[in-house]
Symmetry: D2
Subunit: 466 residues, 4 copies
């Protein structure tokens, strides 16, 4: 890369999972709208054709007249090819297919364990991690061998375990995980603030928060806007919206796998005093099974959707069809901001504007002093030229720490289980998961569930599991 006045040219980005029909397109438009950067994006995907198609799409975007950031896209034939010379690496892969995901999400229902997403915590998240971790082992080794000084941005779930694996395999890696769930909560708080205080037109970036926790189970210990402390304001809002929930006019949780009415979030605030900062569907999965996910009826009462893998399969069909149209030039990606902050953070790491943003990295600096140093935590950090300086988030309250710790400990277990191909360690992790622990489920049933879930994802597991 080269610095020239206030710009950087010849930047090289490697995109692992570059055949993606979602995140990759977001990146293309965000880059096209950023005038200070230009360079090459090397797309690598185990589905090489998908990467080839995206290269075509990317180059089309870059060629658009109103694209101020000019980029050249190409498909790479190997990790080595993609990574060699890279300044930045983006990882956004889908480990397995929706068939594996269907097993992750739905098989545990036979023991009465419902999951709203099934990709982070709970039985589904853990099994998904078992097939993801070996892929990340390979990716981390490749980064070490071919791009050891590149910055690595991960978008893949389960976030904490993906980042943990990268650092386990290559401790000197400069990797971090980005997730937009926190932004979603900031947007919700902006709505709350505007509704309660008579402001309007505010940018969600003006909601200043102190972030602490782990990905998808993140909390705000403080939040303010325009100097106003949002805690009493949020409390007041909850007073009048707790029962009904809150939805924007154009959103309705019943029509969406992703929307929610924020009732879980409000309930957690009432119970624990901090603002839970992720979608309700994610938050619910970290809590004991009998609270928000007891059965579909309970879920309806809390007004959030259970992921249906069917919907995801249909959505994939749509995206595949769109990909064809985009590749053929029958459709054009609109140049609109994706809402992701990845390009902003790349700029900050290039020294083009310091940023404070939430980030998933190991707790090495003790940014949350009462979680283990080896935990991957989500807190604010200061992004500066070639550096990420974590912000000292402070200690978690004992009650919230007690909710988070079992998951942190399970991350440790699942990483080991994946490396050792150790079924019994998975059983141990399941037994410690709040969705299972304390639900009067027999250990033999849990062991059978583990066996069956592993069986269903065997195509994506190393041989040691057989």
């Amino acid at each position: 890369m080269k610095y020239k006045d206030h710009s950087v040219t010849d930047l090289q980005i490697a995109y692992i999972g570059g055949g993606s029909r979602g995140w990759a397109w977001n990146l293309m438009t965000d880059l096209a709208m950023e005038s200070q950067l230009s360079g090459t994006v090397s797309l690598y995907d185990i589905d090489h054709q998908a990467a080839e198609n995206n290269a075509i799409i990317g180059n089309r975007v870059s060629a658009m007249e109103n694209a101020v950031g000019k980029w050249s896209y190409k498909a790479a034939g190997s990790l080595k090819e993609a990574l060699t010379g890279a300044d930045f690496v983006i990882i956004s892969i889908l480990p397995g297919t929706f068939d594996e995901m269907a097993s992750d999400v739905h098989l545990p229902e036979r023991l009465g364990v419902y999951q709203s997403v099934g990709d982070t915590a709970g039985p589904g998240g853990m099994i998904r991690a078992l097939r993801t971790i070996p892929m990340f082992v390979t990716i981390a080794q490749a980064i070490r061998d071919f791009a050891p000084t590149a910055w690595v941005i991960n978008y893949t779930n389960p976030m904490s375990l993906c980042v943990k694996t990268l650092y386990c395999v290559f401790p000197q890696i400069k990797a971090f995980g980005c997730c937009h769930e926190v932004f979603g909560t900031q947007k919700f708080l902006r709505d709350v603030f505007e509704a309660e205080c008579g402001f309007s037109g505010l940018d969600w970036h003006d909601i200043h928060v102190n972030v602490m926790g782990i990905n998808h189970f993140t909390w705000f210990s403080s939040a303010s806007c325009q100097g106003r402390d949002l805690f009493p304001i949020y409390e007041k809002f909850i007073g009048s919206h707790y029962e009904s929930g809150y939805e924007k006019p154009d959103e309705n949780w019943m029509n969406s796998s992703f929307a929610c009415a924020h009732r879980v979030k409000m309930d957690l605030f009432k119970r624990f005093g901090y603002i839970a900062a992720a979608g309700d569907r994610h938050l619910a999965e970290f809590m004991p099974s009998d609270e928000y996910l007891n059965d579909p009826e309970t879920v309806r009462r809390w007004k959030f959707g259970l992921t249906t893998v069917d919907w995801r399969k249909k959505d994939l069909q749509k995206r595949l069809a769109r990909s064809v149209r985009l590749t053929k030039g029958e459709e054009t990606l609109p140049l609109e901001p994706s809402g992701e902050e990845g390009v902003l953070l790349i700029k900050a790491l290039l020294g083009l504007g310091r940023q404070v943003s939430n980030v998933n990295i190991p707790n090495t600096a003790g940014q949350i002093p009462n979680l283990p140093a080896s935990a991957v935590v989500e807190t604010n950090a200061l992004f500066d030229k070639d550096h990420i300086y974590p912000v000292a988030a402070g200690a978690l309250p004992a009650s919230i720490r007690a909710l988070i710790l079992p998951h942190v400990e399970n991350h440790e277990r699942i990483l080991k289980a994946a490396l050792l191909c150790d079924r019994e360690m998975v059983v141990e992790a399941f037994l410690h998961d709040p969705l299972i622990r304390g639900q009067h489920i027999k250990e033999t049933d849990v062991r059978a569930l583990v066996t069956d879930m592993i069986h269903n994802t065997m195509a994506y597991l190393p041989k040691g599991w057989q």
Copy 2:
């Protein structure tokens, strides 16, 4: 205080040392130029007349037509009166007179120990601390009793020990210490960058640095501007300026007690690899006596000035005279930015704009993990609504840590010595000070020096010392 749109009104600031003819005037003009704040400043000083005069001056400033921030100034008759109701407390006192300072700075010369400032480290800094700490005990108790939730900004030296005393007496205090030495180094680096890279007109705030160390002995582990890493640029600059030093056209160290040619700073970079970030006069005092302060001739060679207390006495006369003119209205304070960041930080703590700035606070969050938690350290922090979140600065390199640690340990000793009125602990601190340690000075001579220096400042010490 009251929030109204994007402003805060009715803010109450207590200024301890409010008779000051320097910092107080800076505050007045900075407040007058800030449109988002207004309120009352309560000036307290043991020289009540000086506070009265400053109240007059402050009200004159506020009445100026171009003053966009409107403040009411009044002199308070007691700490209690000043503090009651305060939202912010500013401490900027002069402990003792220049006569005491003359002893601090010059008496050690009889043992060959030269000091360039004598207010922070070294024998002078430690004796100054002995008379300052009891005052800060009183101030901390008063804040605890009358303004326990106020934010407290300290400008008084010795900074580390003042802040340490505040937290020792009242651990819940919301206090921090501000110092502009780091800004000075940022300005120097801006000059370096402009000179080497052909930029011009840059704001020193664009020099992004990671700050670590203790006040007046602070270091940058990274520095960049416009995305460029300043380390190689600085190294190149030193290559051509090491021998001659660097001075701006309008500055010359020979004509000033405060200026320097940055030769010490450059030498420290060559030796330790990090950028020392304070004036050379301060830096030199933290190092062994035989390096930069061996004798006046050595000092001249390194091109920095030794403080002369005579100059300070004369300067005080000028400022007193100016005070008279200002009080009478014969002169007007010009509305120019002071270069201090205090008002910016007040705004950030009020939620009117998040800031990253360097700050002196206890190392409780482990912002520098290889210094004790009880040390008062200087690092960056994120200032947000009613919160200071330290930035994890990272560990000091072993070599720099070894330079800093004796001072941190002496802070501990001097605080205890001050509380216990324990002469022998002062002797121990002197013996561990790099200006004395290893200089073949006899312990009996050191003990006699301690006795004499304490004698010279006895008027400002508690009875326990007699």
Copy 3:
């Protein structure tokens, strides 16, 4: 001192509080019964005549035919004289008189706060600390100046704060605190074991325990005898003795200020799962007021005695009279082991037999990892030649830690209050004391109590308090 074969001769012991009519006599007989040691004991006391008398008594003991350890006793005129040349220093002083103690113990009763001992925790212990700490400041400074490498054994209460003061003033001090309360619990457990398991004649040293906590509020996390785990045995014993309590045939709590029926201890085991290891009178004082010390009736139900200062005064008269007889030679001290371990530990530190024993020292080695490093804790340690190696006791369970922490935090407050002569910090400590906190006592009443209690002990406080 000199080593000769398996013995040490010419040992020098300084005894501060050497006029004592109790601990000093214990030491005399223990030394007389120890054949491997001989030397000189230098007795220092502010009551010089008492030291003179004890020198006579000590020399009489040493002259006894069956005294195998030969020692020379002399009264020292000053701390300096006593300490110069000392290999070991023993501190066993009584801070103030029983008049001060009467106020410590009984004045808080006006707010319904009853204390069973009043010398460690609670209002009485804290006020006692205020007059003790300045004495220990003086002693620590004298040790630093005249015997910096001597080992220092403290027997004075309040133990934790005495040891904390020594280390605060002279951090290099080689000091530790000894207390026999743990031995008492070991003896009780021996009785329990013999009763339940049919053993007899066991030595209490065979009760192996892991010790954790703070002095007088110490806990065993494990206990065994002859390989048997005492926890289930103790549980069974409690099953049949909880209501009635347990007393040895020759003891009855009703007849003694010191005995107890171990009901508090058994109750704490039932509630917290670890063995509380001090006399019930001590244990009760660390718990909330409404549990064991609610009123005299409650105390009777729990079957332990409230200290009566009257009894102490009468007892002192007896001991004074005995002192006269011993000095005159009308009575002879019997050569019986005192039950203290001090001489054993002195031998271990001289390298004459490694010992594991409980000890009060700062938590610097993290022997209890979830208490602050600055806390003075009681755990086992390995005593070896010129070294004390703390044994890693392990983390306290959260429930017990929550009981101990307020006291540890109050030690910090009271030490500071004593050094700063800061009444308000004493009030803060009182308000955090479990005997007061949560008892619906008005803050103004607490403040008045502090004022009155300080007034009553003013004769022993530094001038700064006036």
Copy 4:
């Protein structure tokens, strides 16, 4: 197991590697000589016949008239069979054959890297670890599944990595590693003490030491005997024995693969001030290659032997032959103490006598506060009924820590490399090993060496390596 008076009967010991012709026989005689214990030893070995033979030998020993401890030996057909019901597990396996060991020890000589043992540190130790760790993974999983509450004693090398693997796989394991190298140094110090101070007939247990470091690179920070500080005595001894070295009349390093003249040990004391406490052959391997192992000539000058694998092969033949004779009853194992402490520690863990002994366990209690918590360290510990309480050894001096840390970091790397089958991480570990680092060896040569050494041990590696 059952407690009966002062004895334990029906104790079950599982011996993994139970076909051993060395350690197993030691255990048999030690058990036969211990009257307080009896029970069953279950011998498991991948060479089942060897286990069968040892069962016969063990039962013969137990049947001897003067055997006071009566034990029944049997060969187990599986880990599960051996472990089920076990109270104690002993692990003493030989990973691979002497052919693999020949490659470990001698292949690096092609790069000028000589190794005196090659089983702990250095290239040989690390490759040995690669084949050992998967075996320990299996063993740890079996212990977790079949004997989770048993105490586990490891004698296998490389010690630190074996113990680290056990805790990695099964964090709740109650495992520790025993090694007699420290005892050897205590015996040497006894000889020194007797020679210098005129004592005789002393037991090496009377040499009291504080142990710190890692296995085979262990140090004493203090050492005493009969109250005498051994440091000045050792220093004096070195003054007169440094050049010649020291050997007992019946030992000569030239005739032995195991003996040494202690010159390395003495040199390390002179350089670092602490007593290095392992055989010189081990110590040398932890230091830079150009110090003690530069070439065979250098080794001769330092007077210690390089292991010859030839000798080991011949020795094995002798032991195999002896095994045949013992099995047939043609020879009888003499009932002599083995010099190992394992049975003493078993007794201590059963509550039959508290012991202080050196032990290899994770640094979880911070027993060495300036090494990572995850390091396996060797320090003293207090062995008590069902508990090992580490003794706080204190911080390593910076100079010695700097020697140890690269090995601790390599343990981390090698464990990961073994679990991930990651050749490049092995290369990284080699490059950080002091025998290689700084010796001007090309990275490509190191990479080729790794490849070849792994190839040579491939028969004992998991499939992932192929």
